[in-house]
């Protein structure tokens, strides 16, 4: 189930609840200190260490984990309005697009955007976060003021979609995969990224509506 209200997000994420509990504990100590203005005895110093150090640090760490989990969810990707056609298609139970089919997975369905668009490898998470910050920069400096129709033809990936992402699950070495004649004849090309799994004629394009919007724009432009 996707979170629908602000409180749902906290209730459904144990780390968010832990962060909130530590923040609340620290706040109680800090307000007590500001209101009562006690003398700086050893006990007060220890209590203030909890209120200014231990508890806020614990809250920050838990909030980091909670935020990381939140940022992996499809709902978060859809919080930028230009992404709503993508997330709506992924969530559509009647859609047969590649994202929609993958979003029905019980294992990563609600994190399908992150699962398919994150980088893999040793520094994959860092690279993904850097790319995510770039998305936010582009959104707030450009796309935020555009309508979805204006933005769709302009949205694009920074680099071609790598087959390695698909191969995290579809290893290309199981008998079932190799039984498909097209797979068997293109195994080397697929593994070397010379033929994209998401190319037209194979399993793509993944987000067909965005390619259609780009084609329409190309027809209009001189």
């Amino acid at each position: 189930m996707e979170p629908s209200t602000a409180f749902d997000n906290v209730v459904q994420s144990p780390m968010a609840a832990i962060a909130l509990a530590f923040a609340l504990g620290a706040s109680i100590i800090l307000v007590w200190f500001l209101v009562r203005r006690p003398k700086l005895t050893l006990t007060v110093k220890i209590v203030m260490f909890l209120g200014l150090g231990a508890m806020p640090i614990a809250a920050a760490l838990a909030a980091n984990v909670a935020s990381f989990q939140t940022m992996s969810k499809r709902k978060f990707c859809g919080s930028c309005h230009v992404m709503t056609p993508y997330t709506a298609d992924a969530a559509n139970p009647k859609s047969t697009s590649l994202p929609a089919l993958h979003s029905r997975s019980p294992w990563f369905g609600n994190q399908s955007c992150y699962t398919c668009h994150s980088d893999y490898g040793m520094f994959g998470t860092v690279a993904t976060k850097m790319a995510g910050l770039k998305h936010v920069w582009h959104y707030y400096t450009g796309y935020r003021t555009m309508t979805v129709a204006e933005a769709l033809p302009k949205l694009h990936l920074y680099k071609p979609f790598p087959n390695l992402t698909c191969m995290q699950c579809h290893s290309t070495s199981l008998p079932g995969w190799n039984r498909v004649p097209e797979h068997a004849s293109l195994t080397a090309e697929v593994r070397d990224d010379r033929v994209s799994c998401a190319s037209e004629g194979c399993h793509g394009p993944a987000h067909k509506f965005s390619k259609d919007a780009r084609k329409k724009l190309a027809e209009v432009l001189p």
Partner: protein, 71 residues
């Protein structure tokens, strides 16, 4: 530059920490890009600053000359 008294510094630290905690929690209640970025950067930055102020107070307290008759 002369720093304010320990009590004043701690009060400033407490207020800063409260602001930091509010900002840190904002991202939890409003899971969109900007609130999360603000809570993870500005919120935690102010929080770190308030803890540093607390450490300054503790260091000053440790350096302070013990009262007469002390060990």
């Amino acid at each position: 530059m002369k720093l304010p008294r320990n009590e004043t510094l701690l009060r400033v630290a407490a207020i800063a920490a409260l602001v930091a905690l509010v900002l840190m929690c904002w991202g939890l209640f409003d899971p969109r890009a900007l609130p999360i970025i603000v809570s993870l950067s500005v919120g935690q930055g102010i929080g770190t600053l308030s803890f540093l102020l607390f450490l300054v107070v503790m260091l000053r307290d440790l350096k302070r000359k013990p009262p007469d008759g002390g060990a």
